[in-house]
Symmetry: C2
Subunit: 257 residues, 2 copies
């Protein structure tokens, strides 16, 4: 995999603020946010970068001074074992503020790489500090946002630790569908699911061959359809029941603070 810093050039010459409506949609599922407040965040975004599939956004152990917002494409957070086996901890979709945790942590405990071609915008940490100083309310929103990642980690632990076979895969599909819905990336029961079987396995602790067999079973059971980049959920209730999917852990219901 190529290094992000080595290969990428800014895709915009600056000037026009990037479209962060997907990001704001996620925030607004949880907090009220005025148009002005949204513009203030957008104004802080630096250049937009284009990444190829496989490019790293950040490397484990790196100390970085900015966080990235995914505008388009899918990415993943992961760690690797000495043997080169990879465990994906979270799939990142458009609208995700993908390495916000690097703001408090500074040094990263894991890597992030693009799963598909991506478009990302950077937000320097000093701009975040400034935003928070000017509007202390943002601190709470950002902290909350990082805690939702932790909540998702816990649900994944439950998934890998207690569920098996089709249920484990079904749960991943339910999650990505639910999150995609928030940012307007679903079409009826269909949604983009551009992970290879190998990558699905890296999410779930399975080999690619086993993922293949379980996907086949899920299709034969009539719960899902589609083999490629797009998955169609034929029976949402069945899929959710099989995997005991309860979206509460995504914290997508409105609240105020």
């Amino acid at each position: 995999m190529r290094n992000f810093l080595d290969t990428q050039l800014p895709a915009t010459a600056g000037g026009a603020a990037p479209d962060i409506s997907k990001f704001l949609a996620t925030i607004r599922k949880r907090f009220s946010l005025s148009e002005h407040e949204g513009d203030m965040i957008a104004a802080q975004l630096q250049d937009v970068f284009e990444l190829k599939a496989g490019d790293y956004l950040v490397h484990e152990g790196e100390k970085i001074g900015y966080s990235s917002l995914i505008l388009e494409g899918f990415a993943a957070r992961f760690k690797e074992t000495a043997a080169g086996e990879r465990q994906i901890m979270e799939v990142q979709i458009p609208g995700d503020f993908v390495d916000l945790h690097s703001y408090p942590l500074e040094v990263l405990d894991h890597s992030i790489a693009a799963l598909t071609p991506c478009k990302v915008a950077r937000l320097p940490h000093r701009a975040l500090t400034q935003l928070i100083e000017d509007h202390p309310r943002f601190a709470r929103i950002l902290w909350f946002s990082t805690m939702v990642d932790a909540s998702m980690h816990r649900e994944w632990l439950l998934n890998i630790g207690t569920r098996n076979g089709m249920a484990r895969i079904a749960h991943l599909m339910c999650e990505i569908y639910s999150r995609s819905e928030v940012v307007g990336l679903t079409d009826g029961g269909s949604f983009r699911f551009p992970l290879s079987q190998t990558q699905i396995g890296e999410c779930l602790g399975y080999t690619q061959m086993h993922v293949n067999r379980m996907l086949k079973k899920l299709r034969q059971t009539g719960l899902i359809a589609g083999t490629g980049q797009v998955v169609e959920i034929l029976d949402w209730d069945g899929l959710a029941q099989l995997s005991e999917f309860d979206p509460a852990y995504l914290y997508l219901t409105g609240r105020e603070s």
Copy 2:
């Protein structure tokens, strides 16, 4: 399991501030903290509660207005499946600020219960808000602290997702040992590890019987000794190498902000 609120009574009549030196030791591994600052936190702590093994600190879905600091004893965060299977996401030891994530999240996505008899002190969220307003530096320290939990979740995902057999158990032992060391709860290579084999299994996605067999193998290999509440690590390097344990994810090295 009994409900914490139903059964517990304050163990202190208030007045004397509880001993939070273990908590402060953990903070000071990462941030410099003056004696005065430590006292300010201690002053905000409310009554100290005693819990029996099995008592809940908080229930999944609950909305609570305080966070708890563990003074003595072991606790665990976990979720349950419909079938009653339990997945432990983190083992909490003395000095841990155990449900600080409830401060930004408000509603909890998981439960926390005592694994052994525990002594905990409560800190109301409004006191936290006050502390942060008076000393904005605390916001960063607390945010950081919750992000370390997320980092630990990720390492557990790697552990359950990619390691197997003895390595999985060895990794858990290395983590608890390393964290115990910070709060002065180790004695040479020995440390308190009061989890039953069932509970170890709930951490790692194994059955109690399989944990039993793997522990036996770890003992036969000469890496650890002791069967009961106290484990002795006979060969730290061997244990760390077997489980590819790298403590970086615990963020216990000094830094400043």
